[in-house]
């Protein structure tokens, strides 16, 4: 299981939690697992999220590896000028 940290704005959509345990080996599985557990998160994830895994901000890659002890944070999708 991986502990996934949500930004607190998502708490209301995740049963009041801002830390969620998900069975996942990749970023893609983290996102799929979140939606499976809390369907209310679907819109936010569809709107675009990045995932920080051990401090590395993954903007797109669903295949990036996640380990059970990884620090995982959901962030809003990054863009720039």
């Amino acid at each position: 299981m991986v502990e996934v940290n949500l930004w607190s704005g998502l708490r209301a959509l995740a049963g009041g939690q801002d830390k969620v345990e998900i069975e996942a080996n990749t970023v893609g599985e983290v996102l799929a697992g979140l939606v499976a557990k809390y369907p209310g998160l679907q819109d936010a994830i569809d709107a675009g999220v990045s995932v920080a895994v051990d401090g590395r901000i993954i903007a797109f890659g669903l295949t990036e590896e996640v380990k059970p002890d990884s620090e995982v944070y959901l962030l809003q999708r990054l863009k720039g000028g």
């Binding site: 704005g9 920080a52 863009k79 720039g80």
Partner: protein
């Protein structure tokens, strides 16, 4: 690509400053920018724009325009695809209004004619009947209960109940217990700040040349930061398949985020299809200001608690951004960047995305971050002043470093904030004496940087030269940087490499040139493609020598046996291998197609001296120093250029640039005359210090440098002006009337 940690030494090409490959074209006037293209039989287009901030479009009568001699066609919203959803619908609605004009300058119809003058005459003949609706352009006013609603149902699920429908997105993040943290502080300062919308101010107006036939095949030439994105969006908006539209990016006359989206391109395509002729469409400057994508204006509250020794105990901020008549103001970046420079146990940030009757905002260099730094670093400056603390020492005491839990959540990887602060402290500027009416300001700034989908092809020629084909439009000299990185890998001279920006039909998908991603992502891709080619080169040498490919290494532009056991062969230069490549297995190319993940974040510290004339409130910037972590500077002169450009734009934002809307909701300063960007005589030389703390996510340690440079200036200048004037300025721009008013208020108070 697998990384064993970035290469940090032994560079031969990287770090030098050769001439750029497009230099000759650009100093002789032959470089082709957006408006420089022509096509046989080309028509010229012009757009009818709403004079109202908010109005229902009752009817559009195009008959008089169509009757004008030389007019070939007119389009309205009816000529675009229906049934779009999500962001594509938003973009179409912005490109050509549907039922309602949502801001002054919103496109409502367009004309194509045989000359630009006739097109301009024709748009005056398009009769639009409007029913004027109440409007709102200020962010705080748009959140008030009695504000006119821009569009019902635009809010997403993140928005807490009870907020006005104009609040369309909400962000909240942080950690710890801020109330406890504030209670532990010796001094807490809370203050309110505002910033006005600014424009990227690129000198080249949006321009394109479009051709679209009834067969659904199209060609588009345009100035853009990302032509694959243009391809995808335009195809959707005019209802053709993405691959049937070939988009070529012209030389681009500045973008800074403002050319990451489309405005006129779908209109030109629709006109071209209807007229069955190529159509050129060029915005004028007024249209650029009224109807492209300026940045958000903000209303912000920031509260920070500090111990007497300078330790920050807690920080919180509320950031309200208006992004025009559509969702998308980058408030989450404002929130996430706000306190990122500091290691905080207790931090909380809230963001609101608010719609108003203004043009749809677009990215502008580190979107959202400069405003946050302005508010946060102003409060830190006040705390330092009240507590008698040194501004750099205090920032060092609280600075984020590797392993710090960032204000936005995760732990930082290797970062260079401390190094920039130390370099700033050691810079002679920081301790230089100040003159009368002068003040010094310091600020830190943070930006994430970005990576994104990237394709690069590197092809070797028989004579041993190389061409790199990349898909990220060159907005600041990136072709030179790519060639340097390829030269480094291949071991051939920089001059023997040509880097070209491919059109969408000639290379795989590339994300837009944004987020300071080009030198990072296309650079990484170029290195990977070069290594891919080198592997093939080594394979050819191995075959020639009859040894294993693994026994061949690439050094100094030659294949060599990896050691005595591999065999005794003379080094085989690249040109020797390519000379016979057709007969030894065919062309030798290298490829990279992937989404690199590992754009390192970056920090900067700026020092600025400002002089304020107390009688007139006029500010002069007398000295400016940029210190920024570049990770690794590939072409240091262009890195300096990015630092200087960001600082200059920040100076404009801080002092004079602003969108000024009248009571009627119309933009009052839609020319460079009154949208006052810095001119040459406004600025001093801008000193730069390049700090290099390698990014672990890039083979040479590159971090993006384009955006972070605009994060600290607003705050650094506000701190300098406040020190010089003896009064704190809370609102940008710090125009002379504002500074005079603050001085008068202080005297009266």
């Amino acid at each position: 690509m697998a990384l064993d940690g970035p290469k940090t030494s032994g560079f031969t090409a990287v770090g030098t400053t050769p001439n750029r490959p497009d230099g000759l074209d650009k100093v002789t006037g032959r470089a082709k920018f957006g408006a420089d293209a022509q096509a046989p039989g080309m028509l010229h287009a012009a757009i009818v724009r709403s004079p109202h901030a908010h109005a229902r479009i009752v009817s559009i009568d195009t008959s008089k325009a169509e009757a004008l001699k030389g007019v070939k066609t007119v389009v309205t919203r009816a000529d675009f695809t229906t049934g779009l959803k999500g962001e594509n619908w938003n973009i179409l609605e912005n490109v050509m209004a549907g039922d309602t004009a949502l801001y002054d300058g919103h496109a409502v119809a367009a004309v194509a004619a045989i000359s630009p003058l006739i097109a301009r005459d024709a748009i005056k003949l398009v009769e639009v009947e409007y029913q004027v609706l109440p409007h709102v352009t200020n962010v705080d006013a748009a959140m008030a209960q009695d504000a006119p609603i821009i569009r019902e149902g635009a809010a997403n699920k993140s928005v807490p109940a009870g907020l006005h429908p104009n609040v369309v997105r909400y962000h909240e993040s942080g950690h710890g217990d801020v109330d406890k943290g504030f209670a532990a502080a010796d001094l807490v300062i809370e203050d309110h700040f505002t910033t006005e919308a600014t424009h990227q101010g690129y000198i080249e107006p949006h321009a394109c040349l479009a051709q679209l036939g009834g067969d659904g095949k199209g060609e588009l030439w345009c100035c853009t930061q990302g032509h694959w994105n243009v391809q995808k969006i335009c195809a959707a908006l005019v209802g053709i398949e993405t691959s049937q539209l070939r988009v070529t990016a012209s030389e681009i006359g500045g973008g800074f985020g403002g050319k990451t989206v489309v405005f006129i391109e779908p209109v030109a395509l629709a006109l071209s299809r209807k007229a069955n002729r190529p159509v050129k469409l060029v915005m004028n400057r007024s249209e650029v200001f009224r109807a492209s994508g300026p940045t958000s204006s903000t209303s912000m509250d920031v509260k920070i608690g500090m111990k007497n020794d300078g330790t920050i105990t807690a920080a919180s901020g509320t950031f309200r951004l208006q992004g025009g008549a559509f969702p998308g103001a980058p408030m989450e970046f404002t929130a996430m960047c706000a306190f990122a420079p500091y290691a905080l146990e207790n931090v909380r940030q809230v963001g609101y995305d608010v719609m108003t009757n203004r043009p749809k905002q677009a990215a502008y260099r580190a979107p959202g971050s400069p405003m946050a730094a302005f508010a946060v670093e102003s409060v830190i400056d006040e705390l330092c002043k009240e507590l008698g603390l040194d501004p750099i020492q205090t920032r060092l005491k609280n600075a984020s470093h590797e392993g710090t839990k960032a204000s936005f959540g995760p732990k930082f990887d290797k970062i260079g904030l401390v190094e920039t602060l130390e370099a700033a402290k050691a810079h002679p500027h920081f301790t230089a004496p100040l003159g009368e009416n002068q003040g010094r300001g310091v600020s830190c700034g943070f930006w994430f940087n970005h990576s994104g989908e990237t394709s690069v092809t590197l092809a070797l020629s028989e004579d041993g030269s190389a061409q790199i084909v990349v898909g990220t439009p060159d907005i600041g000299g990136s072709r030179a940087s790519m060639a340097l990185m390829a030269a480094e890998e291949l071991g051939i001279p920089y001059e023997n490499i040509r880097c070209t920006i491919a059109d969408t039909a000639s290379l795989g998908y590339n994300e837009v040139s944004h987020g300071s991603r080009v030198t990072y992502a296309s650079g990484l891709a170029t290195i990977a493609a070069a290594r891919d080619a080198v592997k093939r080169l080594c394979g050819r040498a191995a075959a020639k020598w009859g040894i294993d490919e693994e026994a061949v290494v690439w050094e100094d532009g030659c294949a060599k046996p990896s050691g005595p056991n591999a065999g005794d062969f003379d080094p085989l230069p690249l040109a020797e291998i390519t000379r016979t490549m057709g007969a030894t297995g065919g062309p030798i190319n290298g490829h990279f197609e992937a989404t690199p993940e590992g754009a390192g974040v970056s920090f900067a510290t700026h020092i600025v001296d400002a002089e304020v004339d107390p009688e007139t409130g006029k500010t002069s910037i007398v000295r400016y120093t940029v210190v920024q972590d570049a990770g690794k500077a590939i072409h240091p002169a262009y890195v300096e250029g990015q630092f200087q450009g960001g600082a200059a734009q920040g100076i404009g934002w801080a002092l004079n640039e602003e969108y000024i809307y009248g009571e009627d909701g119309r933009l009052q300063n839609d020319l460079f005359l009154d949208y006052r960007i810095p001119v040459a005589s406004d600025l001093p030389m801008i000193d730069t210090v390049i700090v290099e703390v390698p990014n672990p996510g890039h083979p040479y340690g590159v971090r993006g440098v384009g955006e972070t440079s605009i994060c600290p200036p607003l705050a650094a200048i506000a701190n300098a002006v406040s020190a010089a004037a003896g009064v704190r300025l809370h609102d940008l721009p710090m125009s002379p009337p504002r500074i005079r008013a603050a001085l008068d208020a202080q005297k009266d108070g």
